[in-house]
Symmetry: C2
Subunit: 494 residues, 2 copies
């Protein structure tokens, strides 16, 4: 019984003749449906029959109005129990594929034929990138798979029953408590667990903040004139417009923050992205003065605050005024972006509104990963991971600096006291950003250029053309060869 | 060296005298800061000193303008290296706490004192609920911790490097492929992996759909006149208003769907929530006819489609017209809500817009849990879990029905061919919903009442007062006693 056939009905009209409108047309051709494949795939006999009928109905092989054989006839045809066929017909009628009417048998429901959905074409792969030096991504080989699995095991062993259910949108309390301790100890953040919101990466945190700011007023959000475009887009999609704040060697010009209704400023105080300078103490003070004078909010994006090499990390500015500053952190650099673990430490008056927005966005973040993070922090594994990663990136930075000093001494490397990327200032007049980027790509080397991070409304500034090199991104096996390619490229162009 | 003291400065002004505005006031009292606690907590000497100074500055113990001892003097005081103090001062200056000026020493930065953020009061616990029979939640003791850990282990072992990074906002392809196979096999969904969006529970999927509908036009979304309030709220927060569609014994009255601009209809075809009836085939057809005639969208909330007891599950209506129906599913019932695993199967023209909205909401969902789900599905563990859970809930349902037949034969139990909840219709005129709910709560029994699920704009209907009982919710040890309490309550009131 590998296939079954619904025999052509004796009264089938010729294809040239239009079917009678009232009478249900019967099957126009033999219909072979392979049940074997379905049974091999584990379906029971009735389920296989249903599936075959469903597909034939959906793809038009069984046209609307087609009258099916009686269950008795089909059962005899297939040498199976009549009840099996009757049940399959009933099931498909319940689902809307067939119509069973007392006295007139079973017909295919009268509905427009549906073409089987074609596959959506998958996007073409990126041009072959052998050396990925684009910034913003950690070395994913550093992700501590064994430690994370162990933390997950402990989390699963210890999680109370209710942890697996719906909880407060802020996140599990034990995770917020572990984070509060960690952030206080390592980043100097004044973090009460009750003010922490666990979110799906900083991306979600910023989107929620943007929506809340928009709901409170129409003022724009000031952003650094160089920064991640995705952050501007997240804010703008949430409502607020963004206005650029110039950046110089001391970081963002917070002394120029507009007092005419700007609702918030997004800063990267520990390590300006992408120029790499820390925010000068006077600029920190200016931002807080502005916040106090205008009621504005400072959003502190501490995306790589744990990775400082030449001295200890600059503490978070949130502690200077926890009621004016939202501290935003993430495990995307220390662990992996794919975990989507981010957190906001909120001023008191933002806790309830942000919790409500998080609830409306997705209820809450995934619990098990929150709990695994807490286990990792409390076991000391997170600190070990940060130390290990810091050493790794420091060594890479040193190799980058050494390679460029030899190959391209005219290129000035900056922004490397911290973080996973460097700014390479190109000597004036020798080459252009797009030209160098294109040449690099032809050799399989992906990198970024400073102008790509520029706010479209930014005033002209004196910053020379520069490359932005993410030295954390490539896997180890590609790093040295990538450095060689980069060195050759710069030697030839600078 | 358990604590250190900054001695009172000889020139400290008397407290009664106002400080000279130009000269920095020195310390007004002995200041004892405990370094031991900090060192025991694992901080190095310099870090402990910094932390103590930071806290004293933040809480006002060291007031703005206070001049600190020279690094030489403090080092002698503390019997530590002068360099340690100098580095601590430099660090705190970089962070904005202190100001170091050539020739005038180090003073506390001039800024408004910040009160230490007080703890936000935690919400009071719910009144003691011993028997939780509220619907919408699975028995969390069924969560297969060992199988989930094993799936996570396999996912971690197999995940390629790039899986841990940023990926398409739709979700990992291998997870969408596993889901497409599963949904096709078990729910009859026509699911191409390229049309699946993995989201953070159905909540996020619905919020994203609501925002997309709102961006496309101003039409309201029709919802069943009885349903989850949180779904209405999610839609309305995203933009669209909602209008109620009456529900009767055949499910939602899709034959009454308005053709005047209603942009979509949210349905629970397999098992209307909370009345528990499947959508009649004619109503399925009417919904699709409406969608084709108006260009409207059908959102199929298949929240518990896998849990049908008396016959095989009614297949998803999505397969009847994949270009008009969004199929929405979740692992919240089969596994646990805390995982936040949900998925949408989208019409082709919604794939790109929804992927863009997901990207702007949070980038992508957590990768490891997606991959663990794929491992669980492909190993057959997910099917085993669903079968195990189905058997468990079926037994509970049978116990509920038996208990009520004995204790309260006048109460009519319905909606129990599927799912994790039952509708208990109360005999007319004997009691009221709020009264019964209040009596139940006094005995520690939480339950829901039908009117709570009613759309505020719904027309009067003939539905009698009813309880909505989630028999899946309580842990096993509370279930039997909870049934007894429920039975006694109904016997006394009905």
């Amino acid at each position: 019984m590998n296939s079954w056939a619904i025999q052509q009905h004796p009264s089938t009209p010729d294809q040239a003749r239009p079917p009678a409108p009232a009478a249900a047309p019967a099957l126009g051709r033999d219909l072979h449906l392979d049940l074997t494949v379905r049974r091999t795939a584990g379906l029971g006999l009735r389920a296989a029959l249903e599936d075959a009928l469903r597909e034939a109905t959906a793809d038009g092989s069984l046209a609307p109005g087609t009258r099916l054989p009686s269950s008795r006839a089909l059962a005899a045809d297939l040498d199976i129990a009549r009840n099996t066929v009757a049940e399959a017909y009933a099931q498909l009628a319940a689902e809307g594929w067939l119509v069973s009417r007392q006295g007139s048998g079973t017909t295919v429901a009268d509905r427009a034929p549906t073409r089987r959905p074609g596959p959506v074409p998958r996007p073409a792969p990126e041009a072959a990138i052998r050396y990925d030096f684009r910034p913003g991504r950690p070395d994913l080989d550093l992700f501590p798979r064994a430690a994370w699995l162990a933390a997950t095991r402990r989390a699963l062993a210890r999680a109370p029953r209710d942890a697996l259910g719906y909880s407060t949108s802020l996140g599990r309390y034990e995770s917020r408590r572990a984070l509060a301790d960690y952030l206080g100890r390592v980043r100097g953040v004044r973090a009460d667990p009750e003010r922490i919101l666990l979110c799906s990466g900083f991306a979600q945190g910023l989107a929620l903040l943007g929506a809340e700011l928009h709901a409170r007023g129409t003022g724009p959000v000031a952003v650094e004139s160089y920064g991640l475009r995705v952050h501007r887009e997240l804010l703008e999609a949430a409502g607020p417009t963004t206005v650029p704040l110039p950046v110089d060697a001391d970081g963002a010009r917070t002394d120029l923050l507009p007092t005419d209704g700007t609702s918030a400023v997004l800063l990267t105080p520990a390590h300006q992205f992408p120029t790499g300078t820390p925010l000068h103490p006077a600029r920190r003070a200016a931002a807080l003065d502005w916040a106090r004078a205008t009621g504005g909010l400072v959003i502190e994006d501490d995306y790589d605050g744990e990775f400082r090499y030449d001295r200890q990390p600059v503490g978070a500015m949130q502690a200077l005024d926890p009621e004016r500053v939202v501290y935003a952190g993430t495990a995307s650099k220390s662990l992996a972006p794919g975990l989507r673990l981010g957190w906001l430490v909120l001023p008191e008056d933002l806790v309830a509104p942000l919790a409500a927005r998080k609830a409306r966005a997705d209820g809450q973040s995934s619990v098990l990963e929150q709990l695994a993070l807490a286990e990792l922090i409390e076991s000391g594994g997170y600190d070990r991971q940060v130390r290990r990663a810091r050493l790794h990136y420091r060594r890479r930075r040193d190799r980058l600096v050494a390679a460029l000093a030899t190959a391209a001494p005219r290129v000035q490397v900056s922004g490397i006291a911290a973080g996973l990327h460097a700014l390479l200032r190109l000597p004036a007049g020798r080459t252009s950003e797009p030209d160098l980027q294109e040449q690099a790509l032809q050799q399989g080397l992906a990198l970024d250029v400073l102008s790509r991070f520029r706010h479209p409304l930014a005033e002209p500034d004196g910053l020379p053309p520069s490359l932005v090199i993410g030295f954390g991104t490539p896997p180890e096996h590609a790093f040295q060869r990538g450095l060689d390619v980069l060195g050759e490229l710069l030697a030839a162009n600078c």
